[in-house]
Symmetry: C2
Subunit: 210 residues, 2 copies
DNA sequence: CAATTATATGAACATCTGTTCTTTATAATT
DNA sequence: AATTATAAAGAACAGATGTTCATATAATTG
């Protein structure tokens, strides 16, 4: 952390993210936020131009999500060499979202506003989904050249790898809202990696007949 | 159709579903609905007790979704015998959602209110997801006994089969909102079935060493 | 035809919303 | 210490919302 002391502006953002992720952007009133921050509604306007501005700041925060930073700073070749373990670490990142308050709230905010807010939709599509799919697709391509995984359409494989992760995460979200047990859902992240790898890794027979 | 003439009540539901699925329940005002129906806001109250009642009626309509009626009336054994083609027909049902106005609207309504409305969440969880997963799981179990597919955890397989279908459908929704091309996304439904079947069907070698 | 029910209207309502304004208190800077 | 910027409060606003009410018209029924 740059500054251990939380500014009021940061507090407002924190509270807003919490409320937006719980009730959605529109149903959360400026009064709700102010009350939880501990000031009056009008006081908010000393820190933000308006409710929109708060959302805008949080939208920018979406880029700090663990999902956006999945492959941060690492080269494709480097990652491809890791084999199954890179897939495992991706799945773990998704799984851990629900154990980290901020990441969970960001993901819930994203999901709730996806159909309503075109900016959020753009960020989701570009940085949460497409960027990751493309990067993983490149990794798969190298793995195929290295005979680590079987030859197939790498882009399709990337879609197939990511889609259950997003979906399972959403499911965990929903179960948590109703305080239902989500433990069996959480185990799916790892099982997904295992079965995905079993289905796509090069087996002895495959390389023998190559 | 029972009656070819649309009653005003049906028209209100139709318009409301359209608007709710586009803008969400809360952001859609009673005035919006009335205007598109062609009456004044107060006139709506001769047909429905309130805005809530309209949503309630539409929630009941969710049960008519193609996703809920996936396995309607057919026995597990019968379906298991169909092999790959049952999976194909499931995937096709999902794919066709975006080509049928009402089904598409119901799915969008569902997705938009999932985080906000606990009744919708219950229906989704029970009838859209769990019921289908369990039924498919039973089908997989029989397929395993029949040596049609490889032995594995049938419940996990069902999760892995369904999750991309839901996710791809959501993706198609989102792309359509922004009028972006979704053709490459739509092809994933069939590819998913193909690869799923290739990964799980019993091959010659499997049965040979049995 | 008369009576009743169903449907429509327009005005009004209370409530909630985001925002602005003026004024007061606090903190930072000179 | 004086000045200036920052943050807070409280009241008020204009607009939108769901709903109600009294009333008028149309449709149905006896």
């Amino acid at each position: 952390m740059a500054s251990p002391v939380k500014t009021k502006k940061e507090l407002i953002l924190e509270v807003s993210l919490k409320l937006f992720s719980e009730k959605g952007y529109n149903p959360t009133s400026v009064r709700d936020i102010a009350k939880e921050v501990g000031i009056t509604q009008s006081g908010l306007y000393n820190h933000f131009k308006g409710k929109d501005a708060i959302l805008e700041a949080l939208i920018a925060d979406l880029m700090t999500s663990a999902v956006v930073k999945l492959f941060e700073n690492k080269s494709i070749e480097e990652l491809a060499k890791k084999g199954k373990s890179i897939l495992f670490s991706i799945a773990t990142t998704f799984k851990l979202i629900s154990f980290d308050k901020k990441n969970e709230a960001l993901f819930k905010l994203l999901m709730q506003e996806l159909y309503k807010n075109s900016t959020i939709r753009d960020i989701y599509n570009e940085h949460f989904y497409q960027a990751n799919v493309k990067k993983l697709s490149s990794i798969f391509f190298i793995m195929m050249q290295d005979e680590t995984i079987k030859h197939a359409d790498p882009l399709f494989l990337a879609h197939e790898f990511f889609s259950p992760l997003f979906f399972y995460q959403m499911q965990v979200n929903l179960l948590k809202i109703d305080k239902k047990s989500n433990s069996s859902m959480v185990t799916l992240f790892e099982k997904h990696v295992d079965s995905f790898w079993e289905n796509n890794k090069v087996t002895k027979e495959d390389s023998f007949f190559e």
